[in-house]
């Protein structure tokens, strides 16, 4: 397959996931558009060196996350926190309640934007249904460290979303 064909295949399979990643990291529409373009460009260029070293999925996510990290480090505003710290921070008052898909989505985005790497990546990849082994391969964390973080992510999501819906 040529570089162009590999890129088009990757975009067909993972284009929507890349859109979700850009949305998670960048609330501003213009900056989000820029980030998505940077990720796409990096991905296209990366296929010049792709020879099946890993699965296409791992390759795409690595490029996307590595590009997003660089952009995030450049544009960082405010202090980022770990999953442990975030669990200790009370959820903001939510007068409208937790109901509503758009509302839940917005709150998920806010949680990811507050997290420091690699916790933000673990949460994002967990939401994308990646298993622990794939997350370890993409982030470079050990399998044990990923498992611990996934456990914390699940706890955090339960505490922030499930309990509120029950009340």
């Amino acid at each position: 397959m040529t570089q162009d064909e590999q890129y088009l295949q990757a975009m067909a399979e993972f284009g929507t996931a890349l859109g979700r990643l850009a949305r998670a990291y960048e609330p501003d529409a213009d900056l989000r558009h820029d980030l998505l373009q940077d990720v796409s460009l990096a991905l296209w260029r990366s296929f010049a060196g792709f020879a099946g070293q890993c699965s296409l999925r791992t390759w795409v996510y690595r490029v996307a996350h590595n590009t997003a990290i660089s952009a995030r480090v450049r544009r960082r505003k405010g202090r980022l926190v770990s999953l442990d710290e975030l669990a200790g921070i009370a959820a903001p008052d939510d007068p409208e309640g937790a109901a509503g898909r758009a509302h839940v989505l917005e709150r998920l985005h806010r949680l990811i934007r507050r997290l420091a790497p690699p916790d933000d990546q673990v949460m994002l990849l967990y939401l994308e249904d990646q298993d622990a082994a794939e997350i370890a391969e993409i982030t470079g964390l050990s399998a044990g460290a990923v498992a611990t973080r996934i456990h914390r992510v699940k706890q955090l999501l339960t505490r922030r979303f499930q309990q509120e819906s029950e009340t």
Binding site: F47, V60, A99, P117
Partner: protein
């Protein structure tokens, strides 16, 4: 309530114009043009400084300062080469996926920290040597009575301004290098988990 993961995966998509190869190539061309423009601005500034110095030397404007001025030209060329080398040393795009995010992020920080912590050597010393030489010439002319009466006051002003400026530059580089080192230590701790 629906599982947050389901809501996440079924969120509305935003159109990505980069699915089109023509748009992608246009973006790549704009990116290359931006890099070229940034390099041109850097070279233009250095070329201007070098040409002014060479012009002054050629006209014999400050005969006593001829050698330190030529050394300053050399310093400009050296720093320019260093900046260019460091820009070119950045990872090739194809390598962006060769390493996991943690290693990639660490590599970027290491490159930054290395450049910043040694900036005194590759950025400051080349300019400070000819500058100190020029100050020495001024001081010796004052001492021998060849300099105009306002020269001692000017020399003191030069020294104070230079010390303040270069100290601020050194502190800024050191602070940025320390921040990068702290982040590297944090990533190493994560890696060791």
């Amino acid at each position: 309530m629906t599982d947050p993961r389901t809501i996440w995966k079924t969120q509305p998509n935003e159109e990505n114009a980069m699915s089109d190869l023509a748009a992608l190539r246009a973006r790549a061309a704009r990116f290359e043009a931006r890099v070229r423009l940034r390099n041109v601005a850097l070279y233009a500034y250095s070329a201007f400084s070098i040409l002014v110095s060479l012009w002054l030397v050629a006209r014999g404007a400050f005969p006593a300062m001829r050698w330190p001025m030529l050394l300053m030209v050399g310093a400009h060329l050296f720093v320019l080469w260093q900046i260019n080398r460091r820009i070119n040393a950045r990872r090739l795009p194809a390598e962006i996926a060769a390493r996991p995010a943690l290693d990639f992020h660490r590599g970027e920080l290491e490159r930054q920290a290395e450049g910043l912590s040694r900036a005194w050597l590759w950025y400051m010393v080349p300019f400070l040597i000819p500058f100190a030489w020029e100050l020495g010439i001024m001081a010796s002319r004052i001492h021998s009575g060849e300099a105009p009466p306002e020269a001692p006051r000017l020399l003191v002003i030069f020294i104070v301004v230079a010390v303040c400026f270069w100290t601020a530059v050194l502190l800024a580089f050191s602070r940025a290098a320390l921040k990068a080192q702290l982040q590297i230590a944090r990533l190493d701790a994560l890696k060791a988990e």
